[in-house]
Amino acid sequence: MTISPDAVYAVSDDVVAREIEGEIIIVPLVAGIGDLEDELFTLNETGKAIWDKLDGRRRLTEVIQELSAEYQAAPGEIEADVLGLTAELVRRRMLVAVPAS
């Protein structure tokens, strides 16, 4: 699956996600999102930092720039992480592409 850095992504209607005690909990609402029936998901700290910025407004390029500044890391390294996680979340129907405003 190819994820364009210029694309904008938002949380899918197929999941409910909430931040609880500093953790993101993702509950799939339709079958087939998890490998097993009735799975729930959470993200590690880096994943949460990316998830928090996938708000349906920022392009992935902006997310990458912001995270590079926050983590003082090379943009190339951050880009691979952001695109990789976004691809997995799109594949699992937790994120959907939305038109850029």
Partner: protein, 170 residues
């Protein structure tokens, strides 16, 4: 120089069950039911013994179009405390429902229909679905509980079954 951040990871929560409590659980339950989906979580407490035990996994489905019937177990937001409660419908009254825990000494008071969030469809204990208490017998259970007869009956039954349990431990 700061160490590089760890790779982002998505993890599956083992067992796919939320062990939340308090406002977080209530908020999650509301959000999931509002989308028409069922919600699974671990029950906490002892007010529904023996039919729901601490640690049982409950599946709550969105409130059906028809009104909850006496004997059904529902999840509701307590009108006074704002807490999530899972109790059995004891009776219907004008303006709401009388709800009561099977192991509770008295009814919860009148609960407006808007506070009822969903119905408990399944109770799982050690990965097995528990059916008793959810079928037609639920009406009898509600009636017995309403008249404070449920626990004397269960106590008597457990005394009668004790020799059998000793002889044939599960």
């Amino acid at each position: 120089m700061p160490s590089p951040p760890p790779k982002p990871c998505l993890y599956a929560v083992p067992g796919g069950v939320l062990s939340l409590s308090g406002p977080a659980l209530l908020e999650f339950l509301r959000a999931v039911l509002a989308k028409g989906a069922s919600f699974r979580f671990k029950a906490r407490g002892f007010s529904m013994l023996p039919f729901i035990q601490d640690g049982d996994v409950l599946t709550v489905s969105p409130r059906p179009a028809r009104r909850p019937q006496p004997g059904e177990v529902v999840a509701y937001c307590h009108p006074e405390t704002g807490k999530l409660v899972v109790h059995r419908v004891s009776a219907r009254r004008a303006g709401g429902y009388l709800l009561r825990g099977d192991n509770a000494p008295e009814a919860d008071g009148l609960v407006p229909p808007a506070n009822v969030l969903g119905r408990v469809d399944w109770v799982e204990r050690r990965s097995r679905r528990m059916r008793f208490g959810q079928g037609q017998e639920r009406r009898v259970i509600a009636l017995l509980a309403r008249h404070n007869l449920l626990h004397p009956l269960i106590f008597r039954a457990s005394q009668m079954l004790r020799p059998l349990k000793r002889r044939y431990p599960v």
